[in-house]
């Protein structure tokens, strides 16, 4: 069966420090991969999605970037974190069009 792993679960980082959040999927090949940010009372905001290795689409211009170095690995990064980057980050995958998502357990990022 397919599983999705996301780590770390929580992270406290100082302003200006770099960020790397990792997400991996097992049990499937060529998944669509997504990074969302969940802010209290504001739902889920799509940050990046990828339909294949090296193919990244950004939905919202911001201080973050994403990479997909392997088929089942999706990384969210920042060179210098801002206070406004604090939030709950969710990775998700889907098999293709018209499918729902399977979400990871999320990373609670606090920038101090």
């Amino acid at each position: 069966s397919q599983t999705i792993h996301q780590w770390p679960a929580t992270l406290v980082q100082p302003v200006g420090s770099p960020l790397s959040l990792e997400c991996t999927v097992e049990g499937t090949s060529n998944p669509n991969l997504y990074w969302y940010r969940q802010a209290a009372g504001r739902g889920l905001q799509l940050l990046f999605y990828s339909i294949g290795i090296g193919q990244i689409s950004s939905e919202v211009p911001q201080n973050l970037s994403a990479s997909r170095p392997q088929d089942r690995q999706f990384i969210l990064s920042s060179k210098k974190l801002l206070l406004s980057d604090s939030g709950f980050y969710l990775c998700a995958w889907s098999a293709g069009t018209a499918d729902g998502y399977t979400f990871g357990s999320g990373t609670r990022l606090t920038v101090v």
Binding site: Y36, T97, D99, Y101
Partner: protein, 115 residues
Amino acid sequence: AQSVSQHNHHVILSEAASLELGCNYSYGGTVNLFWYVQYPGQHLQLLLKYFSGDPLVKGIKGFEAEFIKSKFSFNLRKPSVQWSDTAEYFCAVNPGNNAGNMLTFGGGTRLMVKP
């Protein structure tokens, strides 16, 4: 761009009360519709989905939702809620011609069920 609106941000009900959570979307074409639930401390989980066919879809745990195309709505219902239904509920829309299968989510509704 399409948008999804969940007008009820917080709902408080007593056990056995009936539930209806509103969801409206702005996209005019063919859509796939979803409801997700996030129980306290847990992952987002798929509750139910609509792709085509019968506009009344049934999901897990006694939930159902009705797609009304003319109203651009996909409201979630449950006849009798339980304390264990306390969670945050998200409506999501996927345009049918969306190659990246991107979902647009509503702002969520926090449901608290009092025992």
